[in-house]
Amino acid sequence: MHSSEQELFNHKIDQEVRIEPKDWMPEDYRRMLIRQMSQHAHSEIVGMLPEGNWITRAPSLRRKATLIAKVQDEAGHGLYLYSATETLGITRDETIEQLHAGKAKYSSIFNYPTLSWADIGAIGWLVDGAAIMNQVPLCRASYGPYARAMIRICKEESFHQRQGFEILLTLSRGSQAQKEMCQDAINRWWWPSLMMFGPNDDASPNSQRSMQWKIKRFTNDELRQKFVDVCVDQVKILGMGLPDKDLKWNAETGHYDFGEINWEEFYEVLKGNGPCNHERLEARKKAHAEGRWVREAAAAHSMKKNNLNTREIYGTQSAK
């Protein structure tokens, strides 16, 4: 039975038939998805923190409204992804617990601080831009719930990148100080954004597996190159530069060559030694702990309303 189920699974992957929650799947496939999807969900939630930092200080009502909308989207995106992850047999509580215990990762980019308003522009343009580059191919991921979540996310996220670029564009047409702020933000966010695509292909052992299973469709380096090519043209519209002296057009490859990424920095941030790792995780844990009484009160209210005794409710829930 097992080998035929494996064959059926392989056949579906070959034929681009999506795998759905109740279908048989190899344990490694399940594990890889849980790891990737929960990391992705955590990234959406932790990603709200650096931007939330600027909501009260946004320079106009228009900017404030859009930033709130963007951060609210990210909460929604976290939810879509947590829900999709749960279809693989891990509970929401378990995934959150893994984040809070420091066992699960989230995108290293969110461990950098947002020092000026221009950072909100740079995050929208570069960080969301890199995320979209990664996410669009995931709309065709072989696992149905993941692909469906990604479709919804990509649809919503395109405004994020546009609002970021608009912020930078406004600054780039402003005073000398605003122009400098704009360039400074680009300088600080450029390299961490390139790191978002993950290690080089030869240092990324999971990539090949993931591509065989059609979770990923392009390698880290392919996506990173595509991102660089796009940004080089876009930055010209801002009249700004990218902080890479090795950046130049390569007529042979038809792409821009770019400088070496500081992988030591990447791995340090990943290990927890980035500028804000501690702060981000503490903020998450604090929010969870401080929200506890709300969750309990709502549960108690609901129970009272339903006129059920606690034994009945908890009896059925702990039975699974």
Binding site: W24, A69, D73, G76, L79, R292, E296, A298, A299, I313
Partner: protein
């Protein structure tokens, strides 16, 4: 106070959204909520931020019963050899109109 994971458990709800008058409610996703009202309010915030819906259904996930992929053969295969259920099965002359 010691955290008590049981006392903050909320049930999981499935959310169905009607996009426009005249269309069916379609599954949009799921969320946790303490009760039906909170589920609808949260569904509004999460799934209809861009005019995606004008009506919401929520149902507790544990009330949904699903067929199993292992039953697919017995459930769906019998339809395969009943092509006569489709209009294209019947060969009729081209001159025949309005049918």
């Amino acid at each position: 106070m010691e955290p008590n994971p049981q006392s903050e458990k909320w049930p999981l709800w499935e959310v169905f959204i009607r996009a426009r008058q005249g269309l069916d409610h379609k599954h949009a996703g799921s969320l946790y909520a303490a009760d039906a009202r909170m589920a609808i309010e949260n569904a509004r915030d999460v799934y209809t931020r861009r005019n995606e819906g004008i009506s919401i259904w929520v149902v507790e996930s544990n009330h949904i019963h699903a067929s199993n992929p292992s039953e697919s053969d017995s459930l769906y295969d019998p339809a395969n050899d009943k092509v006569y259920r489709h209009p294209s099965f019947y060969h009729l002359p081209d001159e025949l109109k309005n049918i």
